[in-house]
C-alpha cells in the first residue's frame, strides 16, 4: 500500500468518524451542564460514609476499589511484560559501564547539582501525595509516579551504577509484589472478617479530612503508591539497561 493510498483510506474513514461524532454530540448535554445523577449522589454521600474529603480517591479506593485492583494489576503485568520482551537474548552481552555505551557526553555539573538538590524534596513530595489520598487531590498513583522521578533523577545525574545500587532488580520486584499483594490482602482481610471483598473495615477516624481517617482508603493508597513506584522503576530500569547491551556482530 502506498502512503498516498493509505492517506485517502484514512481520510474516508475519518470523514465517517467525524459524521458519527457530530451526530453523537447533538445528543449530549452542553458543556458545563453535567446532568448527573451518579456524580451528585457520590458527592453527597461520600464524605459522610468514608470520612474522606477527596471524593475522587473515595471513588477509586472505596466505591470501585475492585476496578482499581484490576487497574493496578494492569501496571503489574505491564512491568512483567517489559521484562519479558526485553530479556537478554543469547546473542547479546552486556557492556561493562554505561559510559562506554552511550555516545552522549556525560551529564554536566548543572544537571548533576539540580538532580541532587531535587531528589530529596521529590521523595518527600511523593510520599506526601501517596499518603494524602483521603484529604486532597493526590493518591497512590500520582505519588508513586513522583517517587519514580526521584530515581530517574539519580540516573540523569549520570549515576547508572547508583541507579542499580538503590534499585536492584530483585529488591524492586519484591517491593512491587508487596504493593500489589498488599492491596489484594486488604480486600481479603475484609473477607476474613466476614464482610464483602474490599469492605472498608478499619475505623474511619473522627474528623473528615484528617490524615488518619477514611479507613482502608488511606491504606490502599499507600500500597498503590509502593506498587506504582516499583513498577515504573522496573520499567525504566529495563529500558535503560538496553543501552548496555551489544549484539554479536554489531560493533
Amino acid at each position: 500500500m502506498t502512503p498516498a493510498l493509505r492517506r485517502w483510506i484514512f481520510l474516508a474513514g475519518a470523514a465517517g468518524l467525524v459524521a458519527f461524532y457530530l451526530w453523537g454530540l447533538a445528543g449530549l448535554p452542553g458543556f458545563g451542564n453535567y446532568p448527573g445523577p451518579y456524580g451528585d449522589i457520590i458527592n453527597r454521600i461520600a464524605v459522610g460514609q468514608t470520612n474522606a474529603t477527596g471524593v475522587v480517591s473515595a471513588v477509586n479506593f472505596e466505591y470501585r476499589a475492585i476496578d482499581t485492583v484490576g487497574e493496578e494489576f494492569i501496571l503489574f503485568v505491564a512491568a512483567a511484560g517489559v521484562s519479558v520482551v526485553l530479556r537478554h537474548l543469547r546473542s547479546e552481552r552486556e557492556r561493562a559501564t554505561l559510559d562506554e555505551a552511550r555516545e552522549a557526553p556525560p551529564a554536566s555539573d548543572a544537571v548533576r547539582y539540580v538532580a541532587l538538590i531535587l531528589t530529596g524534596p521529590i521523595v518527600v513530595f511523593g510520599w506526601w501525595l501517596a499518603s494524602h489520598a483521603q484529604t486532597s487531590p493526590s493518591g497512590g498513583f500520582q505519588g508513586g509516579v513522583v517517587l519514580t522521578t526521584a530515581v530517574i533523577l539519580i540516573y540523569l545525574a549520570g549515576q547508572f551504577l547508583a541507579f542499580q545500587r538503590i534499585s536492584p532488580t530483585d529488591l524492586t520486584e519484591a517491593v512491587e509484589a508487596v504493593g500489589a499483594g498488599g492491596f489484594a490482602a486488604v480486600g481479603v482481610s475484609a473477607v476474613v472478617l466476614g464482610l464483602a471483598y474490599l469492605t472498608n473495615f478499619l475505623p474511619l477516624g473522627s474528623t473528615p479530612g484528617g490524615v488518619f481517617s477514611s479507613g482502608t482508603i488511606a491504606l490502599i493508597s499507600f500500597f498503590v503508591g509502593i506498587e506504582v513506584a516499583a513498577a515504573f522503576v522496573l520499567i525504566v530500569g529495563e529500558l535503560v539497561e538496553q543501552t548496555l547491551l551489544v549484539r554479536e556482530g554489531s560493533r
Binding site: 475519518a14 459522610g48 475522587v56 471513588v59 477509586n60 494492569i74 520482551v85 493518591g139
Partner: protein, 114 residues
C-alpha cells in the same frame, strides 16, 4: 460556546490518528497513540464538568457545594495508568524491532515482513 471542548476532543483524536497513519518512525507513532488517548481525558473531564462548580474535594468547602462529577475524574485516572502501561510495553517492542530489523520505519518493517 457549549460544544467547544468536544470539538477539541475530535481535533486531538483526528490529529493523533493522522499521525499514526502517516508516521515514519515507531517512537513517533507511539507518541501519536498517546495523543489519541489524550482526547479521552478531555472528553471524560468535559462530560463531567458543571459551570461554576468546585472540584470534588470537600476539605475546605462545605459538603453541599455543587461539585463536578468525581466518577469521570476517577476514570481519567484509570485512563492515565493504562496509557502508561501500554506505552511502556510498546516502547519495549520498538526496542526489539530495532534490534531485529535495524529500522524503526513502520513502512519498511512491513516490507521486511513481505
Amino acid at each position: 460556546m457549549q460544544v467547544f471542548p468536544f470539538v477539541v476532543v475530535a481535533w486531538i483524536l483526528a490529529v493523533g490518528l493522522y499521525g499514526i497513519v502517516t508516521s515514519r518512525h515507531l517512537v513517533h507513532q507511539i507518541v501519536c497513540l498517546i495523543i489519541v488517548q489524550s482526547s479521552t481525558y478531555v472528553l471524560l473531564l468535559g462530560v463531567g464538568y458543571r459551570t461554576g462548580a468546585v472540584a470534588p474535594y470537600f476539605f475546605d468547602v462545605p459538603e453541599r457545594t455543587p461539585a463536578v462529577d468525581p466518577v469521570v475524574q476517577a476514570l481519567a485516572l484509570t485512563d492515565v495508568v493504562v496509557e502508561a502501561a501500554v506505552t511502556a510495553l510498546l516502547l519495549a517492542f520498538a526496542v526489539q524491532a530495532h534490534k531485529r530489523f535495524g529500522t524503526l520505519d513502520p513502512q519498511e518493517l512491513v516490507q521486511l515482513k513481505g
